[in-house]
Every structure is written in structure tokens, then in C-alpha cells.
Symmetry: C2
Subunit: 214 residues, 2 copies
């Protein structure tokens, strides 16, 4: 299904534009965090936040004392942007150096989720996203913890993605130059897990921990 582009979600370079919901959701889901923009006292503010998605809704969360939660719970408009850097594009000319990336820009107004069951479902989705398979292994979230977390929902009605992929695009007259050109792939990679030194001795590392890395 395709999201109808609005003036502000129309991507100028048409060959990089993506309006397909599934493709947009794939980028949102792969990204661990988003950059959330809002207007505060007339000024733009951009803050990194962990996000989650369930169906056609994006979620943000935080402590009730956090400045961003106190600001956003009034339902003011936000812009949520997610970027995955896929590689460096090395051209023959400095001018045509570029980056491969996938990004999503979504606009909407957040709503505070009052219902505790719904809030718990969203927080569960966060845990499932961060470390798939880990939640059943954990000490369950208490009602007090759920009550003590602000969860905001933003409908994914106005969003688009922009994707640059492929190799360098140089000037035709530069193609014969004796210069190496190509791509350097980049990916967010997980290193070896580090045990919490405060952990009880003898606790085995569960499979879901070794499976991390995308």
C-alpha cells in the first residue's frame, strides 16, 4: 500500500522516493533509534529517541520527568526521521562523493496512551524490537513501571522514504581517469557481548544474546 505524498513528504529526486508503506516500515523497524523534531518556544529541537512500531502507528516513550515527554504530551506536531547509512560512495571526483542511505521522514501529532494494557503492549514491542526473543526470559514489567512510563503514539499517515543505492555517478569525461572508484559498505555491527560484572556467577549467556546483529 502506498502513502499519498504531501507537499512536505514529496521527495524532490524522484528516483530516490519511496511511498510504499511496507518499504517505509522496513526502514523504521531496522533502525534502533529515530531523531524527533519539534518546535519549542519558536525554535527547532531535534532529540534522538528509541522508537517502536505496531502496524500503522509509531511509538515514542520516556520518563514523565523528561523534558521531551513533558513537551510532546500536548500533542504538538513532530517530525520523526530515521536514517540508515549503508555505505560511502567513492567517485573519481571529490564533487561526486556521496553516501548510500535509507531514510524515513514522518509527520504527525502524538497522543498520550492512557490505557495501561495498550501501554504495556507498546513497551513489550520495544523490548521485542531491541533484542528479539529476550522478553520471555526477563523479570516481567510491573504495573508500577508501566504506570511510570509515558507512551506517545503517532499515526503513520504522512511519511515517505528516500533511498540512495548503487555506485558512484561521475561526469562522463572523468570515467577514463586512472582513479579507483567504488563503494565502501557500512553497517551497524554487534560486537561480542560483555557480561555485567555484577551478575551472579555461572549464568549462561542465552541464545537470543548471541543472535544479535543486523
Amino acid at each position: 500500500m502506498t502513502l499519498p505524498p504531501t507537499e512536505r513528504t514529496t521527495v524532490r529526486l524522484d528516483d530516490r522516493a519511496v511511498y510504499d508503506r511496507e518499504a517505509i516500515y522496513e526502514i523504521l523497524d531496522e533502525a534502533y533509534y529515530a531523531h524527533v523534531g519539534f518546535v519549542s518556544k519558536g525554535s527547532p529541537v531535534v532529540i534522538p529517541m528509541l522508537h517502536a512500531r505496531i502496524e500503522d502507528t509509531l511509538f515514542l516513550h520516556g520518563g514523565p520527568a523528561s523534558r521531551i515527554m513533558r513537551t510532546l504530551k500536548d500533542g504538538r506536531e513532530i517530525c520523526v526521521t530515521v536514517t540508515l547509512l549503508d555505505g560511502l560512495v567513492l567517485a573519481r571526483s571529490a564533487f561526486h562523493h556521496s553516501a548510500n542511505y535509507r531514510s524515513v521522514v514522518a509527520f504527525g501529532r502524538p497522543t498520550v496512551i492512557a490505557d495501561l494494557h495498550q501501554r504495556r503492549a507498546v513497551l513489550d514491542a520495544y523490548t521485542d524490537k531491541l533484542v528479539p526473543g529476550r522478553r520471555p526470559y526477563l523479570r516481567e514489567m510491573t504495573d508500577r513501571e508501566v504506570r511510570g512510563t509515558v507512551v506517545l503514539s503517532v499515526p503513520l499517515d504522512e511519511a515517505s522514504a528516500k533511498v540512495r543505492s548503487g555506485g558512484p555517478v561521475d561526469e562522463p569525461e572523468d570515467m577514463e581517469l586512472d582513479i579507483w572508484a567504488g563503494l565502501i559498505p557500512l553497517a551497524l555491527t554487534a560486537g561480542d557481548p560483555i557480561d555485567d560484572p555484577l551478575m551472579l556467577p555461572g549464568i549462561p549467556r542465552p541464545d537470543h544474546v548471541d543472535g544479535i546483529g543486523r
Copy 2:
């Protein structure tokens, strides 16, 4: 040297706050891209952009036809945010799962750089940042290319960083649970370079390409 925190650059959680210029610059320089926020027709907009820094000034650039350059060249206020995700923090409770990160938030008003020499110096800094050591190897930037690029400068006068590091912080009563807790380090990692298939045959891969990866 320390940047004096303003109301909007004061980090609420004091133990995560960084106001030291050198520490802020290190984060800005390590990050390949920034998220740039501005207000357009009353709405917040956040766009990923490559950035560069020279001394106490941050730079953005783009084509003159790009929407963001046409918008920002009027000198409206922007918020530039950079985030490096360093790891996932796996606690004993879902509630205390977190992420280790280093982020910078900077506020300022961009100025268009009219001087072509200065503009070239900034574009050179971009190339040097993206792939250290590559610029002397490349076809030099033409005056036409420099003239055809909009470069914006933003003084780094109002900025702060926020850093979360270290292991999980669980509730005292959860510390005896038989649950693996720890850290999953994450890093943006370079894969093997991919030759441009349009390259002339027999061009060796230069050392600066094999050296990429931070």
C-alpha cells in the same frame, strides 16, 4: 574549553552532560551525518545531512536546487543533532533496558558562505572527513563545481553533548535474579570495498580505501 549551557542545551540528567568543546567536537567528527531540524511553515522538519567541522564552525552543504538549501539560506534557526549508538544495554528487567550513545545537540543560524576560496576549503574538509587521505588522489574540484554548491556555516556557540555509557542499572531487588545481563557493543563497521564495475581495468585499490573503518 567549556561551552556555557543555555536553557535548551542543559542536559537534565547531570551525569550524562558534556559541555567540553573538545568532547563535543570528537562526537561531531566521528559521525558521518547529522540530523538537521528547522521550522518550515510552522512545522518541524528533520533531514539527514552530511556535515563537516573546521575549528569552532559546523558546515552543511547541498545543491542550490535542494529544498533544504533553499529554505536554510534565509538564516532561520536550525538544530543540528548527531548521534552515535555505542551499544545495547541488556538489564534483568525489560524496564531497565537502555542504549549507550553519544549525542550532540547544537543550535544556531546558518550563514551562506559567499567566498569561493572559503567554500572550497570547506568542501575539501568534507572529502578529508569522509575518506581521509583520498583527496590528493582525486580529480580536483573545478571552480564550476565550487560555484554550484551551497555551503552554510553555523558557529558552534550553543551546543552540548549527552553520553550514556556503562552497564545496566537494575533495581536492587533484581540483582540476585538468574538472568544474563550485560552490554552488546554496536559500531558502524566498514565492509570490503566494492569496485565500481565501470572502472577501467587494472586500477589498484589505494591504501586510503583499505584504511576505512572507525
